[in-house]
Amino acid sequence: MPTLPGVHLKDEIAKVSQRLRELGHNRHLDKAVWGRVELARHPERPYTQDYIHQMFPGFIELRGDRCFADDPAIVGGLAAYMGRTIMVIGHQKGRDLAARTRRNFGMARPEGYRKAQRLMNLADKFGIPVLTFIDTPGAYPGVAAEERGQAGAISGSLLCMARLDVPTVAVIIGEGGSGGALALALADRVLMLENSIYSVISPESCAAILWKDADEAHLAAQTLRLTSSDLLELQAVDAVLPEPRGGAHRDHAAAARIVKEALEDNLRELEAIHPQLRKQERFQKFRQMGVWKENGLTLF
């Protein structure tokens, strides 16, 4: 998180309250955005294993990073899908307290990202497409995780995804929290469920750092532009998948059907492209990420 030295808050207070008053008419939008955040984190929202359960009856879980441990915050394995095998990998939050603790709320440690790499490389070896489900508040910030190379595990996972010759599809199904989410989302196609969020930082942390007040999380959420429609507009994701009425938590089976259809369409398109060209297109897509000014012109 950037530290911002030399910021003189006192001079700004007046200006800020003025601006906040101006923003007053935006409170409806504020509420709508926060509603999305709450839906994305809804305790009954379908998790990775729910989609696996609905979409891939013969799923075989593969565990462990072969170095240190098996991280239950990321699950993965082989699935039969429409006449082919695919590798499914995703963050897994827990449903009840015991599961949540065991799954560490979907916050992976380095061994989780290293397991993901192992499975992706395995898929690549046999020409098996990779599907990832993104649903995490972020990578776990702990002493041991750092000592085992959390940063290197995430960058390693990114590099692994960049290198794959097989088609890759990522689906953001709930919370796409920071680098811990992106680590599984450097894909040919990045799809996002309507009520999911995807952000560089959680609204709470952002508010604490920039507004010096965690209670401004609603405002931060609106400012960060983390909803699916925002991200589509910013070309940060390739498509938004509509959810069943009221949200995916209302009907897991219907949500899974929507994801399944989208997966089928995207895989069919991707498989029709020559692997080398597909990889080039992947690089080109991420190369174009960002907005900047050059010689005074704003470039997308």
Binding site: E147, L210, A236
Partner: protein, 319 residues
């Protein structure tokens, strides 16, 4: 030691009060601006590494008069129309004014002991060295230049992570820079990163740890998560020395720690060895070695000699 990051901010202000002279945060000795500059901004009493600006770093590494900036005209836009306590463009303008830099990363070509390199240097004083669209694009162009000219890339990192004010686009720079690293690997061109105090978050979790050789500066804080976030999560104080370069070496996360005074020589040595153009008979660098001050000049000269003797044409790319 764990509070190092917060100590650093006050240090800067203290320096300004003393008009160029700075007191060492580690040993409290007062150091004049001249003696600091002569010694690469390293305390001559205790070896504490003071922060250097991106331009100072370029001057320390590049042979005189060889630096040529690339992508110098890139500036941050405000794609999110971001307003927290202040508008984002105002923060950028202030950073530009305070640092004299166009962005948190300078990119260019230079010669280091006559060896051609592409150099990218980050500056923590520019919005915490945070990575937004411009830093990502500059890294991409630096990598592109390295690939097109078959010249190695050296990156000096200093960053608090992704830039919040560009939201998801900042996060995606991690993916973008990773793709650039992979394109370099396909050639391959050597890529070395130097992690300086502090390198954290999205920069550490992308190109900074994807280099062929990872070098750290003494005392640099290197951790994916910030120290406060970890303390809040584990609900206890961080262990002594947590996240420092020395601890990172012990845990196998970086290859080596190089004191700043030796960085220029070592960079050329390592990049040269990766290219296969420099014999290995240079001064060894391994754990048992004692530091040998006073041999720097002779060492640099030796590199120059060997470089000129070695076949000037570079190794052809692998097919």
């Amino acid at each position: 030691m764990a509070q190092k990051v917060s100590v650093d901010i006050s240090r800067r202000n203290r320096g300004e009060v003393l008009k160029g002279a700075e007191s060492c945060p580690q040993c409290s000795q007062l150091l004049t601006a001249e003696e600091l500059e002569e010694n690469y901004r390293v305390c001559r009493h205790c070896g504490h590494h003071f922060r250097v600006t991106a331009r100072e770093r370029v001057a320390q590494l590049a042979d005189t008069g060889t630096w040529s900036e690339i992508a110098a005209n890139l500036r941050s836009a405000d794609p999110l129309d971001f307003f927290d306590l202040r508008p984002y463009p105002e923060r950028v303008e202030e950073a530009e004014y305070d640092t004299g830099l166009p962005e948190a990363m300078l990119t260019g070509t230079a010669r280091i002991h006559k060896m051609e390199v592409v150099l990218a240097v980050m500056d923590f004083q520019f919005l915490g060295g945070s990575m937004g669209s411009v830093v990502g694009e500059k890294f991409w162009r630096a990598a592109e230049t390295a690939i097109e000219t078959r010249v190695p890339l050296a990156v000096v990192c200093a960053s608090g992570g992704a830039r919040m004010q560009e939201g998801i686009l900042s996060l995606l720079q991690m993916a973008k820079t990773t793709c650039a690293v992979e394109l370099m690997a396909q050639v391959p061109v050597p890529f070395v990163s130097v992690l300086t105090h502090p390198t954290t978050g999205g920069v550490l979790a992308s190109f900074a740890t994807l280099s062929d050789v990872v070098i750290a500066e003494p005392g640099a804080f290197l951790s994916f998560a910030g120290p406060r976030i970890i303390e809040q999560t584990i609900k206890e104080k961080l262990p002594e020395g947590f996240g420092l370069a020395e601890s990172n070496v012990e845990h196998g996360q970086v290859d080596m720690i190089i004191p700043r005074s030796e960085l220029k020589d070592r960079l050329v040595q390592i990049l040269g060895m990766l290219e296969g153009g420099v014999a290995c008979a240079l001064e060894p660098l391994w754990e048992e070695e004692e530091s040998r001050p006073g041999r720097r000049g002779a060492f640099a000269e030796a590199i120059g000699r060997i470089k000129s003797l070695a076949n000037p044409s570079r190794r052809p790319p692998k097919r």
